[in-house]
């Protein structure tokens, strides 16, 4: 479904991504791991168009998307959440998700009909599925950090994506919140048939739900394979797991 081929990106002299390769098959749950500064977030920003690659290609469903702006990439079926909470702070939880749903339904240019009665069912359904229904009326900035991270995922779901990209979905969460979130992600993958690409520092989380793992180190892809293969790989152990 998604193929990243030899992608490079520099900021000044610093090569943040220096030859990254990634394959995500339909329906798969794929994790990207690597130490801090390995280029994971940059790679995600390249895929979803916040940044443009210097070299290489990004192919989604057979189409090169590496030069498209973010809103067009979203319309192709890729939605994402952000590592640092990035919601619409002044809007309610409901309105946060509805922005995405309205955009997905191409209704965002309607000028003279009230938004109040639009996209209500779809938005409610999404809030239901992530468990935020009871907080629908609250202003987003008043939610707890954990709930804002979940709201991030809900906004992404508003775009009815085929591929959901999550940048450290459990960052800053308590252990209970983390396991609830992982359960949510697993459920989204099975119940909605979503393809999920995520990056994460918590190895336990990664190895428990990812079907395929890509390891990045200093901007390069070391390996992508099944969790057992990655665990056994010597290069990975030296670079990342600290050589057991």
């Amino acid at each position: 479904m998604l193929q990243v081929e030899a992608v490079e990106k520099s900021f000044g002299d610093f090569k943040a991504v220096d030859g990254a390769n990634l394959r995500v098959g339909k329906g798969e749950v794929v994790a990207v791991i690597g130490p801090n500064g390995a280029g994971k977030t940059t790679l995600f920003n390249l895929i979803t168009g916040q940044l443009r690659p210097d070299r290489g290609r990004i192919i989604f469903k057979g189409e090169d998307i590496s030069r498209l702006p973010p809103y067009q990439i979203c319309r192709k079926g890729i939605a994402r959440s952000f590592q640092i909470v990035d919601v619409f702070p002044r809007l309610t939880v409901f309105e946060n998700v509805r922005v995405a749903v309205l955009s997905q339904q191409r209704k965002s240019y309607r000028l003279f009909s009230p938004a109040q009665s639009m996209a209500v069912a779809e938005t409610k359904e999404i809030l239901e599925s992530v468990g935020l229904s009871d907080k629908a009326g609250e202003i987003a900035s008043s939610l707890s950090h954990g709930d804002q991270k979940i709201l991030e995922i809900a906004i992404a779901l508003g775009g009815q994506p085929e591929l959901l990209i999550l940048d450290e979905p459990t960052a800053g969460m308590s252990p209970e919140e983390t396991s609830a979130t992982m359960e949510l992600i697993r459920r989204l993958a099975t119940m909605r048939g979503l393809t999920i690409l995520f990056c994460e520092h918590d190895m336990e989380v990664v190895f428990s739900i990812a079907q395929s793992i890509m390891v990045m180190h200093q901007g390069r892809t070391l390996i992508q394979g099944k969790p057992e293969e990655v665990r056994r790989n010597r290069e990975v152990q030296e670079a990342y797991l600290g050589g057991e």
């Binding site: 809103y71 990035d86 002044r90 309105e95 309205l102 240019y109 003279f112 009230p114 938004a115 202003i139």
Partner: protein, 316 residues
């Protein structure tokens, strides 16, 4: 929508105020009627600016240009062509919106302060053209004695016409603010990057907002001609733009009707305090400082009964 509007707690106050404004002209002195009409015109201009500033988060510093373009368009059409007068009345807002499309189309490529700077420059260019082009625009003399339809020839007639147009425009603006477009625009103001990531073409939404706002500024310009029967380059000068920007801040730019309140306060101050001292802006400054600069007030302005959204008046 209608049902919701009817149950609003603002309905009865609005009806009472509107009723008072309707019965006022035969009772009040001419000067007060004139001042009120001027407040209506300024209120519409300020409300139009707030569509881009408050709801769109765009620093449209030189919004007055579109007011001037609307006013000059109708003035030139009424004095230099034999077209029916209503054509000129319609051409004003359309010309303003067209200028909004061109200037806005260039400016939305930039953000924040850069947007503001470019917008001021391009707006000042229009002012310079109007100021210099004597043969066509009358230069700094302006155009005076513009003919009007007979129904608007009396001050009372103009007053009612201006009030009617103001109310109609406010209703349309209210619809727009509550529409999917309005909520998307506000989302783009709060977090443009996130908006792009959910599939919204942020720049195009901002451009549409600018075109709508400049259209209403053009309507205000036409109303100015109806009231004053003259135009002059000061209508497009940056000082006027700054004043209406201050009115937005003063009234509360995250509220719907706040900017109107700001306009009323400023026009009234200038008219009544201005008679005693040319330093009337000092009182305005004394007013604004506590209202807008204290973090606690942050951006909600003077507006009575704060809206539910916490004000986060971060500026740049």
């Amino acid at each position: 929508m209608l049902k919701q509007a009817l149950s609003s707690r603002w309905l009865w106050p609005a009806v009472v105020i509107l009723g008072l404004l309707l019965i006022l002209p035969p009772l009040a002195p001419r000067f007060y009627v004139y001042t009120l009409a001027l407040i209506f015109v300024t209120a519409l201009l300020t409300m139009s600016l707030n569509l881009v500033v408050g709801y769109g988060g765009l620093y449209q510093f030189h919004h007055g240009v579109f007011y001037g373009v609307g006013a000059y368009t109708v003035a030139l059409m009424l004095t230099k062509t034999d077209l029916p007068m209503w054509v000129g009345f319609i051409a004003g807002p359309i010309m303003a919106a067209f200028m909004g499309l061109i200037i806005g189309g260039i400016c939305v490529r930039l953000t924040r302060l850069y947007f503001a700077m470019l917008q001021i420059s391009l707006g000042s260019l229009i002012w310079a053209i109007v100021f210099r082009w004597y043969n066509f625009t009358g230069g700094d003399d302006g155009i005076h004695g513009i003919p009007k339809p007979s129904i608007l020839s009396s001050l009372t007639g103009s007053y009612y016409f201006i009030l009617l147009v103001l109310v109609a425009c406010l209703m349309v603006m209210y619809l727009i603010v509550r529409s999917p477009f309005g909520s998307t625009l506000q989302a783009a103001r709060d977090n443009p990057q996130r908006c792009e990531a959910v599939g919204v073409n942020v720049r195009r939404h901002q451009l549409v907002a600018i075109v709508i706002a400049t259209f209403f500024a053009g309507v205000a310009g036409v109303l100015f001609v109806v009231l004053e029967r003259s135009v002059f380059p000061d209508l497009l000068f940056w000082i006027l733009s700054l004043e209406i920007f201050i009115m937005c801040l003063l009234g509360g730019w995250f509220t719907f009707t706040g900017p109107m309140l700001g306009a009323a306060i400023m026009v009234a101050l200038r008219t009544f305090v201005g008679r005693y001292t040319e330093y009337w802006t000092l009182i305005l400054g004394g007013d604004i400082d506590p209202v807008d600069l204290l973090p606690a007030a942050g951006g909600d302005g003077l507006y009575p009964g704060k809206v539910a959204t916490p004000g986060q008046g971060s500026w740049w």
